[in-house]
Assembly symmetry: C2
Homo-oligomer: 241 residues x 2
Amino acid sequence: MKIESLNNNKVKEWVKLQDKKYRDINNKFLVEGDHLLKEALKTGRVVEIISDDKAWETSGIPFYEVSTQIMKKISKQVSGTKVIGVVQKNGDGKIEGNVCLLDNIQDPGNLGTIIRSAVAFNIKTIILSNDTVDLYNEKVIRASEGMIFGLNFIRGDLALIIDSLKKDNYKIYGTDVNKGINLKDITFHDKIALIIGNEGNGVREELKRKCDSLINIPIAKSCESLNASIAASIIFYEINR
Amino acid sequence: MKIESLNNNKVKEWVKLQDKKYRDINNKFLVEGDHLLKEALKTGRVVEIISDDKAWETSGIPFYEVSTQIMKKISKQVSGTKVIGVVQKNGDGKIEGNVCLLDNIQDPGNLGTIIRSAVAFNIKTIILSNDTVDLYNEKVIRASEGMIFGLNFIRGDLALIIDSLKKDNYKIYGTDVNKGINLKDITFHDKIALIIGNEGNGVREELKRKCDSLINIPIAKSCESLNASIAASIIFYEINR
C-alpha cells in the first residue's frame, strides 16, 4: 500500500536517518539514486527500498511505495531522487592490503573522493580518526560514486592503530609540505599505511612522529597546498606507478 | 555610514551578484572571507569591501559598513562571513605556458580544485568551454582557495581554440579510459594543452579526434573512473614529475 502521509512512522524513521545520531543508533544509512543503490545491492546489505515508482520493487527486499512528496522529504538532494535504499552498516572491517589513515578529514566531498580514488588505486582499508566526518553522510556516499561499498573501514584512535600496524610490519607514511622527501624519490615498502591530514592543518605532529617516511609533493611557491583528496590520490597513483 | 536596510540599493546590487546573469552584466563578482579577499587584493581588482566590522576598512578601496543581517544576506555561506569583496572580472586572458582545456566541467568544486592544482603544477592558462560552469560561482572561488587570481582564463569554442593552439605548436593531449596510452609512458612535449572532459561523459569525440595523444590512467576494474579533478591533477603532477 502506497504511503501518502508525512506523519507515517516509517517516513519519520527514514527522515531521521539524515542525521548521524540516528544512523549511529540504528546502524543503518540511506543511499540515493539508481547508481548508488545498484552498488549497495551488490553487498547484500540493502534492507529496504523506497520509491514513488513501483518499477523499483524487487523480490526479496521489502519495498515501500511512497508519494513523490515523501521522496523529496527523505532525499537530501534539492531536486529529489527516484529511489532510496536503506542499508545496514558494515561491522568493523578488517585491516588488509594497503591502508589509508585519515586524520580529521572534515569535508564530506574530500572523504568521498578519497574513497573513490582508494578503490581505483588498490587501497583496501581506510581508517578514520574519531574526529573525521561521518562515513555515512549523504555527500560522502555521493562523492564516492558507490565505491564506499568496496573497502574495509575502521574508525578509531589513529595513534593506537598505527602502533598495531607497525607490529604487523606496515611502514607508516605521512605528508609534510616542508620537510618531506620528494614523492618521486620514495621507494614504497610492500605494506603501506599512508596518513592523510586535516584540510587546514595537515597531519597531527603526534602522528608525524610515528611515521617511517614523510612525503612531500613538490608544488609551485604561489600555491600554499593541494586539496587533501588530490594529495592522497597523487600518492596512491605513485604507489601504483 | 553603516547600511542597516536590506532594501538599500547597494545591498540589492550585491545580492544580485550571487547570480551568473548579473555577474555577466556587471563584469564583477564576490569573494567571501579573509583568505580569498587577501588573494584578490593582490590583483588590484577589488573595487569595494563590505563588512560588519570597521576593522576591514583599508585606504584606497571604497568600504561599506553593513549590519550582520546584511552580511548574511549577501553571503552564500550558511554561517555568513566576516568580509566580502566586490572584484572586477579579468578581461580575456592570454594563452601562455602549459594549457588545460575544460570540456563541459559541471561541478563547481571540481573546477575550483582543478584551478588550485593547476597553479600548484605550473599550468598557466585555463580554457573553459562555453558549457563549463561559471568561473565566478562562489563555490568555484572557494574550492580554488584563491588560486583563481593566479591564472589566465579564456572561455570559448574548444574546437576552434584547439586549432589555433596547434598552429602555435602546442601538442594536444586528451584522456580516454579505454584506448589511451598509460600515463607513465607518455613523453610530454614542451608545449602542452591537456583536455579534461565532462564528469559523466569524458572528452567529446569531436575533440578527441583533434588530440595528438590520448592518455589513460590505469585504475582497478572495480572503479569505473576517477573524479575529473583527480584525473587532471594526476596528469599535471606527471607533467612536472
